[in-house]
């Protein structure tokens, strides 16, 4: 049956689209921008790939926005360098609304080869462990590759992501190039500063200029507590814990895989439960929280990792250390970095 002009045109169009998508995928991979997210945090990846390293990476922080605020690389390096008596290299690869699955992908794809760190600091919260993570699509679309298709289709079957999300490996090149060209982080001078000089993250603690930048950011964000308290807190239970369960679903299975791989590769792992304010903690169902702590304890034992619980009542009550109900400010990051640093020196980097 000869092709009609319409079908020939349609075939040519689909063919050119396929060529364009494949070309964009190859180009974004070659430029190392194919893990960019559509938010300001690509600064972390920019810093990760831009620095010319002579020594291996000591520590990599992986987590969600909470880790982006609470564990900036320069805060950890300032403390670790003093404790170990040598310059250290810490990097951060955090993911928007990260699930355990997204963390696994970030470590697998971004922190491989010459970028494999000696130790991993992994933020784990109840939200990240749920079998049905809140807004899974937004962190998976930024990271999923062709080989993740079976997991993506399974998650789509469970209703956790739209099925079309699984086409991300096809479109990631175009999206990543668009994010890179648009440079959403360029509007945030503070973040560019962190990327260029301090390995990414939200704050830095190396010098007086950092202090001034941190103070300026926190001052400019003074209204953030009120706005997020009004916008986020009332929805925590309904959005993030509505279908919460921990029965070996996608998120916990991927975290297990990550821990297993780290042990095989000889990496030390510090699992950290980061602090949230008392207001936020009040919205977290007690059963989910207790189950998470149990899981973290057991996983640390199973995989030879260390578990550090910093979400203590004292931290929860320290209102002055929070930028908003579940993100630390510069003061909080500075204090927390010392706690995490001590645990790393004692257990992970000894």
């Amino acid at each position: 049956m000869p092709a009609e002009p319409y079908d020939a045109h349609l075939g040519a169009l689909l063919g050119w689209l396929a060529v364009g998508l494949a070309g964009a995928n190859a180009l974004s991979g070659a430029l190392q921008v194919d893990g960019n997210q559509a938010i300001a945090w690509p600064t972390d990846l920019t810093a990760l790939h831009a620095v010319d390293r002579r020594a291996p990476i000591d520590v990599a922080v992986v987590g969600s926005s909470r880790a982006h605020y609470a564990l900036p690389p320069s805060a950890l390096d300032a403390c670790l360098s003093r404790a170990l008596g040598r310059p250290t290299e810490t990097v951060a690869v955090n993911r928007m609304r990260a699930s355990g699955w997204a963390l696994d992908l970030a470590v697998r794809d971004e922190l491989a080869g010459s970028l494999r760190p000696r130790a991993l600091v992994i933020e784990v919260s109840p939200e990240m462990l749920s079998d049905h993570p809140f807004d899974l699509a937004s962190n998976v679309v930024a990271a999923a590759r062709t080989r993740d298709l079976p997991d993506c289709l399974a998650a789509a079957g469970d209703g956790d992501v739209p099925t079309a999300t699984c086409a991300r490996p096809l479109t990631r090149g175009v999206e990543s190039l668009a994010f890179t060209l648009a440079r959403p982080w360029a509007d945030h001078a503070h973040l560019t500063w962190m990327a260029v000089h301090h390995g990414g993250g939200q704050y830095c603690f190396d010098d007086a200029a950092c202090d001034a930048r941190n103070a300026a950011y926190d001052t400019a964000s003074a209204a953030r507590w009120d706005s997020r308290a009004a916008r986020v807190l009332p929805q925590v239970a309904a959005q993030r814990f509505r279908d919460w369960s921990l029965e070996g679903g996608m998120a916990s299975r991927h975290l297990e895989a990550l821990l297993r791989r780290a042990r095989t590769d000889g990496q030390s792992v510090l699992l950290v439960n980061l602090p949230v304010s008392a207001d936020y903690q009040a919205q977290v169902p007690e059963a989910a929280y207790a189950a998470t702590l149990d899981w973290l304890d057991a996983a640390a034992t199973r995989h030879g990792a260390t578990f550090l619980d910093t979400n203590t009542p004292a931290w929860q009550a320290a209102r002055s250390r929070f930028l908003d109900p579940d993100h630390l400010n510069a003061e909080g990051a500075s204090v927390l970095a010392r706690e995490v640093c001590a645990a790393l020196v004692d257990d992970a980097l000894h």
């Binding site: 049956m1 009609e4 002009p5 319409y6 079908d7 020939a8 045109h9 349609l10 040519a12 169009l13 689909l14 063919g15 050119w16 689209l17 060529v19 364009g20 998508l21 964009a24 559509a38 937004s138 739209p162 099925t163 079309a164 999300t165 086409a167 479109t171 175009v174 999206e175 190039l177 668009a178 994010f179 060209l181 648009a182 959403p184």
Partner: protein, 467 residues
């Protein structure tokens, strides 16, 4: 599944490819398109398919029965059954709880100790559109404007065709059934133009409309008390153009999607902000609803060929019904009444546009400003909050609250500029689409797709879905 989702692109391509493979068999192609349309609608909630089926069956039955009887009383009863049935569906699912709430308030006011229950039914998406479509088929057959549809499959596809099912345009049986009766003859030019329509719609919705909402409209309505009159005016313009970009963007994607399959849907917008009078504005905004109300309400009531008072009353009624069609709640009633008064008053004071160009430009500006204020009623906010926003239009002496950022102003200016751009530009764009080689179409698709991906996480639902 929203038109802005990647899933829709995959669905559209998959449906198109299979439809093309089946093109030798007209029946098979129709059946495939119907199946795909029902699956598309079912992605919201498969239970909604039942209502769609009820409305379709009712009107196919009425149309068939109308074709078999010439008895005036029987024909009136049949068309009455269609009107009652469809408006009944709409009434129960869309307005039922609103009425029950009113009854409860009335009983409480009268001191009657009755607890009026609420049905708490979810409003099935697109019900306002497809009930009007099926009803129009019965009325057209009753008025002998079209013959009764003979093919139940084609009738089901007419009602459920996915590009227009959820938020219009409201397609009349006389426009679409003849297209379904003939074998599809799509051309490469249709493919190129369809793609162009879709890309233009995506840009309007995701980059322009949502951009205006993000930068100007949402901040203003979140805290109107922070802003002065100038900023309130700016937010009003932004809200108008955001809604225009949202709905006309949706329509463009619908038109483009249909064109890929070789079908032509009616246009729904014609530069409404450029209209010289409020009545002309509403002729150019959601044109298919306007013509529906004109043909099935305004003209049967006598239109303007009655006494002046009655003509005004007819106009007023049409706008009131149009307001209520959009939804339940006081703001929609207010919108209907306000537009009814506005149109009637304008007609009284300015029966014809001024011959002077400068005066006519001022008339356009005034007509736009007044209708833009009424369009605020379509925002999904409570009447009290809307009133709070309106109050800011009087706050001329207060300091600015920082709404007018350069990016917001630039975006609004760009949208207004594009809206007022010569028709020839748009025609040239579509002509390019018709003639463009496949590689250049693919390049533009990737370019627009990349730009849309930047804002995809903050893309909002289409506003007219709620109606």
């Amino acid at each position: 599944m929203r038109f802005t989702d990647l899933g829709y692109v995959l669905f559209l391509v998959g449906t198109l490819v299979v439809a093309r493979l089946l093109r030798r068999s007209h029946r098979a192609a129709l059946a495939w398109l119907t199946l795909a349309s029902l699956a598309f609608y079912g992605t919201w909630d498969p239970r909604y398919l039942l209502l769609l089926g009820v409305s379709t069956l009712l009107d196919y039955g009425v149309c068939t029965a109308l074709g078999r009887t010439g008895h005036p009383a029987a024909r009136r009863a049949l068309v009455g059954a269609s009107i009652v049935g469809n408006l009944g569906l709409l009434g129960v699912f869309k307005y039922g709880d609103f009425v029950l709430e009113g009854v409860g308030v009335l009983c409480a006011g009268l001191g009657i100790p009755v607890r009026v229950p609420r049905w708490e039914l979810a409003i099935p998406i697109g019900i306002s559109f497809y009930t009007f479509q099926t009803m129009s088929a019965s009325i057209d057959v009753y008025q002998r404007t079209i013959p009764p549809p003979r093919d139940p499959l084609a009738f089901l596809l007419y009602v459920s065709f996915f590009p227009q099912l959820v938020a219009g345009p409201i397609v009349r049986a006389r426009e679409f059934l003849p297209q379904l009766a003939a074998r599809v003859s799509a051309t490469p030019a249709m493919l190129g133009e369809g793609v162009t329509w879709i890309l233009v719609g995506l840009v309007k919705k995701m980059l322009l409309g949502d951009g205006l909402t993000e930068r100007l409209v949402a901040p203003f309505f979140a805290a109107p008390h922070r802003y002065n009159a100038m900023e309130a005016l700016l937010a009003d313009w932004a809200a108008y153009f955001a809604l225009y970009c949202d709905f006309s963007g949706y329509t463009d994607i619908a038109l483009g999607s249909a064109l890929l399959f070789g079908y032509t849907l009616p246009r729904n917008f014609d530069r409404p902000a450029f209209a010289p009078s409020p009545v002309e504005h509403w002729r150019r905004w959601h044109m298919t609803l306007g013509t529906f109300l004109r043909d099935y309400l305004y003209l049967p009531l006598g239109g303007s060929r009655v006494s002046t008072a009655r003509a005004w009353g007819n106009l007023f009624l049409v706008f009131l019904v149009s307001g209520i069609w959009h939804g339940v709640g006081g703001s929609f009633v207010v919108m209907g009444i306000a537009n009814g008064i506005l149109v009637a008053t304008w007609r009284l004071l300015r029966p014809a546009p001024s011959p002077n160009r400068a005066v006519r430009a001022l008339e356009c500006l005034l007509a736009f400003q007044l209708t833009a204020l009424t369009v605020l009623c379509l925002r999904p906010i409570a009447l009290a909050d809307l009133a709070g926003a309106f109050v800011r239009l009087g706050a001329w002496s207060e300091p600015a609250g920082g709404l007018a950022t350069p990016a917001g102003i630039l975006l609004l200016g760009g949208v207004v500029g594009l809206h007022l751009s010569p028709r020839g530009w748009k025609d040239a764009l579509h002509a390019w689409g018709r003639e463009a080689p496949a590689w250049s179409l693919a390049a533009v698709i990737l370019l627009v797709g990349g730009a849309c991906a930047l804002v995809a996480t903050s893309t909002r639902d289409f506003a007219y879905f709620q109606f």
